[in-house]
């Protein structure tokens, strides 16, 4: 056995020489010097283009939710998709009650996202343009862009557990529907008695 076993002795694993790398890899070593790299050193002041100490405040035209960790509403914020409906109430609760360190904060927001999707879907049914699961999911591209080949001729591992999707996706709906039917039946039977 060699006396120079990497790791178990001071020897390092063998690697190609800089000359070899420079010849083979375009641009090898051009940023070798850390000082030549952008944002070096870290946390240094730089000219940003700001010509204010504190930016002017964007008008708050409707109440804007904010993290409990913020001392005040930051001067600038996005205004798309304001809170509304049941999902808005859940989100408001999350922002008012929970700091960002609590899993409850994030899980409430995720739950509100699901409620929002259902609310929006139901609302769309009352419009001239209801959600279209075919065009909005782009699923037709499975036929036009080689969906089968992408999975059959590939080493990718995800097709191996795709069999579980119908159970995971449809399962809650089936169980929820069954519970609703059973509940309704019990209610009707109770009234008949």
């Amino acid at each position: 056995m060699s006396e120079q076993i990497p790791v178990y002795t001071a020897a390092a694993p063998p690697v190609p020489s800089p000359a070899e790398l420079r010849a083979r890899i375009p641009g090898w070593g051009v940023d070798l010097d850390p000082a030549d790299r952008p944002a070096y050193p870290r946390e240094r002041p730089e000219e940003t283009g700001a010509h204010w100490q504190l930016p002017e405040r964007q008008p708050e035209t409707s109440p804007r939710e904010r993290s409990v960790e913020h001392e005040m509403l930051p001067p600038v914020f996005g205004t798309t998709a304001p809170l509304h409906g049941l999902s808005g109430a859940v989100r408001r609760l999350s922002y008012r009650r929970c700091s960002e360190a609590r899993a409850a904060h994030w899980l409430l927001l995720i739950a509100a996202d699901r409620v929002d999707a259902v609310e929006s879907h139901l609302r769309s049914l009352a419009t001239a343009r209801p959600d279209n699961p075919v065009t909005e999911t782009g699923v037709r591209t499975e036929l036009t862009q080689g969906g089968l080949a992408a999975r059959r001729d590939s080493s990718r591992s995800d097709p191996r557990h795709r069999w579980s999707d119908p159970f995971i996706v449809a399962g809650p709906w089936v169980l929820g529907g069954a519970a609703a039917v059973l509940g309704l039946r019990r209610l009707v039977r109770g009234r008949r008695r």
Binding site: E69, A81, E100
Partner: protein
């Protein structure tokens, strides 16, 4: 105007929306020339990012032409061709004044853990994005960069995130001459990180993924050695063997939030949304790096359950750097592109879709059809 609109997990469509208005004196309105779908847009599309609201227009990678400027804007004028970094930054808060522009404290009411990002859920500020005809660009004097005449649109749009984030990931890895660098994930960011690692003096670059067409790109574009994790018994053992038992000097985890490598991950992450990001890849990174090496979490972890794991590991000294991408590198990356250091867009395989067909683009990218690595979106004339 026409804009992509999120309708719920796996559903998007194009709707008519109001053209955005100047809401702050330093706002600009940009007419979008070209946008891209980022791998992290898929986190939103799959419903994995908390507080992703129906009605939001996605798109944090876009370039365009300045259509209107607010009264306090000094650096831009109508007609300027600009690339807009994905971060929104005021340029003057505690963080911005120390160069941490991606952590701006003045642009995101919804969280203090992260700054503002275009269209990256309300967790990142609740802004609409650039997969539309027009977009509101806050702090026009700080973020947008003029696109040089010699740069084409496709290169410019990649500089707004994918190239800069990949480069910055390599930089955060503190790569030194002679280092062995492992990149987990061969998406656009992983590929650019692998390519950038050579600039900083890496002696070996190894890319790990399961999609053969992406590994092929890692070999031809990033000059990397590759490991197909679906074809080896244990990735960490494989990495240790190829480094004489030492482990890599630097491991960059560039795996997205929708990692889908095993059944448990698929059910709890991709389907039930209880976690984002791959604990498997996280553990490969932690165990694949040599003792005292650098591990960088550059992939999409969601800020709930997994963050606890990251924090726990960091407390144990396993995580010297876990930082999000930043726009800081954009300008420097543009200059490097000119010098031939950074790759040009034509060397990638990009699918171009008109805005009207954006739902198709999302599905192709999400399902990894047609060997797609990146999708570009053309707002067009409507």
């Amino acid at each position: 105007m026409r804009a992509m609109v999120y309708r719920g997990p796996y559903k998007v469509r194009v709707e008519e929306k109001d053209v955005p208005a100047i809401e702050h004196p330093n706002d600009a309105i940009v007419r979008v020339a070209l946008a891209a779908i980022c791998g992290s847009d898929l986190h939103l599309y799959h419903g994995m990012m908390p507080d992703t609201r129906v009605g939001t227009t996605f798109g944090h990678e876009f370039i365009g032409v300045v259509e209107q400027v607010g009264p306090s804007v000094e650096r831009l004028k109508v007609g300027d061709r600009v690339m807009v970094p994905f971060n929104i930054s005021c340029g003057s808060c505690y963080f911005c004044s120390r160069g941490l522009l991606s952590n701006c404290h003045n642009v995101n009411p919804n969280a203090t853990a992260v700054g503002g990002i275009y269209a990256y859920s309300h967790t990142c500020g609740g802004y609409d994005g650039g997969q539309a005809e027009y977009v509101r660009v806050p702090f026009a004097d700080v973020g947008p960069t003029l696109i040089p005449d010699w740069m084409d649109d496709e290169d410019a749009v990649l500089l707004t995130d994918a190239v800069a984030t990949g480069y910055f990931g390599a930089q955060l890895g503190d790569i030194g001459e002679g280092d062995t660098v492992v990149v987990l994930g061969a998406g656009p960011v992983g590929l650019f990180a692998a390519r950038s690692a050579w600039f900083m003096g890496a002696a070996r670059v190894v890319v790990v993924d399961q999609l053969e067409y992406r590994l092929e790109k890692a070999r031809t574009f990033a000059y990397a050695e590759t490991v197909n994790f679906a074809e080896v018994d244990d990735v960490v053992v494989q990495l240790k063997r190829t480094t004489s038992g030492l482990g890599a000097d630097v491991v960059i985890d560039a795996v997205g939030a929708e990692a889908d490598g095993n059944l448990i991950q698929h059910v709890t992450g991709a389907k039930l949304k209880l976690q984002g990001g791959s604990p498997v890849a996280l553990n490969w990174a932690i165990d694949g790096v040599r003792k005292g090496g650098h591990r960088l979490g550059h992939g999409g972890l969601r800020p709930d359950l997994q963050r606890r794991e990251v924090r726990r590991r960091r407390e144990q000294g396993a995580d010297p750097a876990d930082e999000p991408g930043t726009c800081q590198a954009t300008v420097a990356a543009a200059l490097r592109a000119r010098a031939g250091r950074l790759p040009h867009a034509e060397r990638h395989r990009h699918l171009r879709v008109p805005l009207e067909h954006i739902a198709d683009g999302y599905h192709i990218f999400s399902a990894k059809l047609d060997d797609c690595i990146k999708v570009l979106v053309e707002p067009g004339e409507g």
